[in-house]
Amino acid sequence: MMLRLFRLIWTFIRLSALNELQYRANFFMQFFSSLLILANGLIGLALVFYHTESLAGWEPMELLVVVGVYTIIGGLIRAIIQPNMWRILEGVHQGTLDFTLTKPEDSQLLVSMANFELWKLVDLIIGLGVLGYAVVKLGARVGLAEALIFALVLLCGGLMVYSLWLAIATTSFWVVRIWSLFEFFDAMYQAGRWPVGIYPSWLRMILTFLVPVAFAVTAPAEALTARLNTQTLFLAIFVAALTLVASRMFWKYGLKNYTGASA
């Protein structure tokens, strides 16, 4: 069962990759624009640290960790989550979702894994590079335990973001024009460039529970810089599990009520 799933996902990845390898020039375009975005982030940091030694208790290399995680998660969203979720909306709108639903595999898996935008993974590589540099600079302060907790929290954050997007996409069964909510997410996500602790409390609440930037970006960065308390760790695991289950149930419920556009 598990093996077959992996084979299926691998096939999808290969197909998407083959498709995108036709447009190799796009890779350089993507690389160029990702580098520019990174440069902007770094200039922002440089400006801040031109005036002060630490921002709300975060030192330069620690904020670089935040930038790294922000870039990684952003890359994953744009490469995997976004293209698939947009495809659901398009599918409901144009009736092509029906083809997916008739296939003999789990529908949620099919709609979540069928499209990868390979070149967008450039952000993942750049983010990892930034993160690696910052970790080396932080040196002995990052141990194996921190790294493991970091990976765990990052996974939880990623799952939360995925669940949220899936829930938004599922509402398209009832309300077709829902893409504004995706744009809302994009608009809010940029706040993740900085640790959410610097924001006023009302904004922090939005960034924790409405758009889980706090869990997806700040918490992993906290884990790596030995700031994360066990309470937040368990909360992250709990919320991730909860949103994952809830979004799956919502998807199933939506499907039951979905009548299809082409039939």
Partner: protein, 267 residues
């Protein structure tokens, strides 16, 4: 001239109606802008507080004033996105525009003016709320406020014309996006967008002073906040005029040869 103006007004009206229909999308664009301003505001007030009050001549309250006014000026001076131009050329939608007896420059301008007017209905109440939350400090100086309107119009025209000059290159290569991204990256810190110019270190300020971007953003913004002396304001208008004339000439010249070599896609 009169005919052009009439068409400009007609396009403005059409786009006002269209953006009223799509007000949710417009609202989201506005939200992106607000969140961006809010982020800078929080970062800079945090630093000002840590430094005991001021950074680069701005107090906490003045930063609040700067970034609240920022949303207004940014909204008024942004042009269309380059992706839109590239898409229109790729899909062949530009062909119809070229056939019309009016320069697309004015058609697009009318559309943008319409969108901006509609979005103002959301922006102004939002600015009011932000003012209540963040308690900005600024000086309302009558002559400075009177100068704001022409400065804003010139800033918009400058940015729009400069973008047009760049977008025209899309006739040769259908990949203008890279050029625009480079532009946005430089503009980001030399226009007063990420921070007031007085906060920049020496080297960044030197770059900013030879580039046009501060005249399209920081200049009207500082006028609004009453931070400029009359001499500085005059110098700003002079720079705006020079840059605008220069780029307008470039657009005119490049446009002719661009259209000549334009090969319609699709159709």
């Amino acid at each position: 001239m009169k005919r052009t103006l009439k068409i400009l007004i007609a396009e403005t009206k059409i786009s006002m109606m269209a953006s009223f229909q799509y007000r949710v999308q417009e609202g989201m664009a506005l939200l992106g802008l607000l969140v961006e301003a809010l982020i800078y505001l929080v970062v800079w007030t945090t630093i000002a507080r840590a430094k005991g009050g001021t950074v680069g001549g701005y107090t906490e309250g003045e930063f609040a004033g700067y970034f609240i006014a920022w949303t207004f000026v940014r909204h008024m001076t942004t042009g269309w996105s380059p992706w839109w131009m590239e898409m229109r050329i790729r899909r062949g939608e530009f062909n119809t525009l070229l056939l019309r007896p009016i320069h697309p420059y004015f058609v697009d301008m009318g559309r943008m003016m319409g969108m901006k007017t509609i979005a103002m209905m959301t922006l102004i109440p939002t600015i009011f709320i932000l003012t209540l939350i963040f308690k900005p400090e600024f000086a309302l100086i009558p002559w400075s406020l009177a100068a704001l309107l022409p400065a804003l119009v010139l800033a918009f025209m400058m940015r729009y014309t400069l973008m047009y000059a760049l977008a025209v290159t899309a006739f040769w290569t259908t990949r203008v996006t890279a050029l625009f991204e480079l532009w946005f990256a430089v503009e980001f810190f030399t226009s007063g967008r990420v921070a007031p110019l007085s906060v920049l270190p020496e080297w960044a300020l030197n770059i900013a002073n030879i580039l046009p971007f501060q005249w399209m953003f920081a200049f009207p913004l500082e006028l609004l906040l009453g931070r400029l002396s009359p001499q500085e304001a005059l110098y700003g208008f002079l720079m705006q005029g020079l840059w605008l004339t220069g780029t307008a000439i470039v657009v005119r010249v490049v446009w002719r040869s661009a259209v000549k070599q334009y090969a319609a896609v699709g159709g």
